[in-house]
Amino acid sequence: MKLLEVKGLTKKFAGLVANDSLDLEIDQGEIVGLIGPNGSGKTTFFNCICGVYPVTKGSVRFEGREITNFPAHKICKGGIARTFQLVNTLMNMTALENVMVGAFCRTTNTNRAREIAEELLEFSGLPEKKDILGSDLTIADKKRLEVARALATKPRLLLLDEAMAGLNPTEQKEAVELIRRIQREGITLLVVEHVMQVIMPLCERLVVLDAGKKIAADVPERIANDERVIKAYLGERYYAKRATLRSE
């Protein structure tokens, strides 16, 4: 049985097809990468799985259970946690309290929740930040907090949406290390990332989206040489180069 099974998932926004009949299967214990240029529908895909948007067509199954269009909080209770591309820190709560909110998903005891939260802050490299308000954390710490908070809900599948964007190379390395540690805890990961050098060695499998369609799915080495993928990304690099030339 597959851990996650997405079949023909389609999401339309008033005519715009953000996800076009996507299929995806994830096995227990894998790290799967989801890549694609900006606006190709990666975040939308997460939001459809997690019940933020109702899907237009298609189905999502988790551990064999039909969960299509379940409300977001039930998805989380069911064992799928996610982070947000635009960090969604609880600003007026401390780092510890942020993680405690997640921990309350599995316990009603405050002391137990604090215990779990302290462990996870340690796990994600934030132990000395626990009494700092969410609003006072750096972006790198906010991203780590987001991961710790998601982990506190005890997920079996974790969806990371650009958890490394905006981090410097050292912080990126720490983030990769964190993801590996999460995998070792037995948690399956679906990772959206832009930084190729980071995601290539990390993932066992890559899925490439372009304009809402899946254009490739394979092991990283073969994806790197896939013509359509290069075209989709080259196009973007080309535009990026043009944009920097113009701004100079």
């Binding site: 997690c50 409300p71 977001a72 909080h73 609880l90 309350f104 215990e115």
Partner: protein, 336 residues
């Protein structure tokens, strides 16, 4: 894990030794009516406690959860009417009526407020404000419950059981004080429980809350239910104190706004906020009414308006002055 710090489960003895300031404040409140002995002063003190209580009740939905409800006077009214009419019609003791009023308020609020939870910010505020006014209009035109003329409670021999006192108003003060202590204890508990964390998370970001497994609509309903239950209880206290209720004096817009401004002035979503806001507002309002006559000149409205404008410059309210690092240091030194 042996590292666990037992912050919340303090020994009661240590609690009182460490918090002798609370004990002192409570003793002062017990003695207050014997320091200020005039009838009018007692009246103001009862009002202050009543609005502290109401402010605490509002704080659950408006402060901690961040859903600015502006129709709470309606539930205050429902509490007052339920206990009063149940006594007049069925001879039900007002203490039970108080409880029944709370339950009825929860039921009414579940029906009319639940749909409002889809609205956010000012839209939620306007919707609850409108619903509050509609309920007042209903009562004004409802013959069976006395219409615009209201209801006069029959006089009974004074006793705690009858919830009526005539020779002195002091017992009402102590009843209000006990109610305040009760709601303080409950809020203290909630702040440290899963419920309190969930309500604060909803206030910060509903999207993040949902992603962490929080059923936002359910918890908003829970917060609103607790809030209106206590609001209705205060309604019974008021009815037994005044012994006459009518929609105009019970459910004016001003009451809804005061219930909200009291905690907001003190500090929305804080335990002590209502206790700071209520004395300032109620003393100012009651004395301006007494000096300028009848409240007809609208000075009380101007005071509330001015304070609402002032809050724009200090959204954290008065308690935010006590949350800086310097104050914490000083506080730690005092508590030893």
């Amino acid at each position: 894990m042996g590292r666990l710090k037992p912050l919340m489960v303090r020994q009661p003895r240590i609690f009182w030794r460490k918090n002798y300031i609370f004990a002192l404040a409570f003793a002062l409140l017990l003695a207050l009516p014997f320091i200020f002995t005039a009838h009018f002063q007692h009246h103001v003190m009862i009002k202050v406690l009543m609005f502290t209580f109401l402010g605490c009740a509002w704080n659950i939905i408006g402060g901690y959860t961040g859903q600015v409800a502006l129709g709470h006077a309606a539930f205050f009214g429902i509490g007052a009417y339920t206990s009063s009419l149940c006594y007049i019609w069925f001879g039900l003791n007002p203490w039970f009526g108080m409880f029944l009023g709370g339950i009825l308020a929860v039921a009414v609020s579940a029906v009319i407020n639940y749909p409002c939870f889809r609205l956010h910010g000012r839209y939620f505020a306007i919707a609850t404000l409108a619903l509050g006014m509609i309920i007042r209009l209903l009562f004004t035109n409802w013959r069976l419950v006395g219409g615009a003329l209201g209801v006069r409670l029959p006089l009974l021999p004074e006793s705690l059981w009858n919830f009526q006192f005539h020779t002195t108003k002091l017992p009402y003060y102590y009843i209000a004080l006990v109610l305040c202590a009760l709601i303080f204890a409950i809020l203290y508990k909630i702040e440290r429980s899963k419920l309190g964390f969930y309500l604060r998370a909803i206030k910060e970001s509903e999207e993040a809350a949902r992603s962490l497994g929080i059923d936002v609509a359910k918890y908003k309903l829970v917060a609103m239910s607790i809030s209106v239950f206590f609001t209705a209880m205060a309604g019974t206290l008021y009815a037994q104190y005044i012994l006459y209720i009518d929609p105009i004096s019970l459910m004016p817009l001003m009451t809804s706004i005061l219930i909200c401004v009291v905690p907001v002035l003190g500090g929305a979503g804080t335990l002590w906020g209502p206790a700071l806001g209520a004395p300032i507002l109620l003393i100012a309002i009651e004395y301006s009414r007494a000096w300028l006559g009848g409240g007809g000149r609208g000075i009380d409205y101007m005071i509330v308006g001015a304070i609402m404008v002032a809050i724009i410059f200090r959204p954290g309210g008065l308690t935010s002055f006590f949350q800086g690092p310097r104050f914490r240091q000083w506080w730690r030194r005092i508590r030893g």
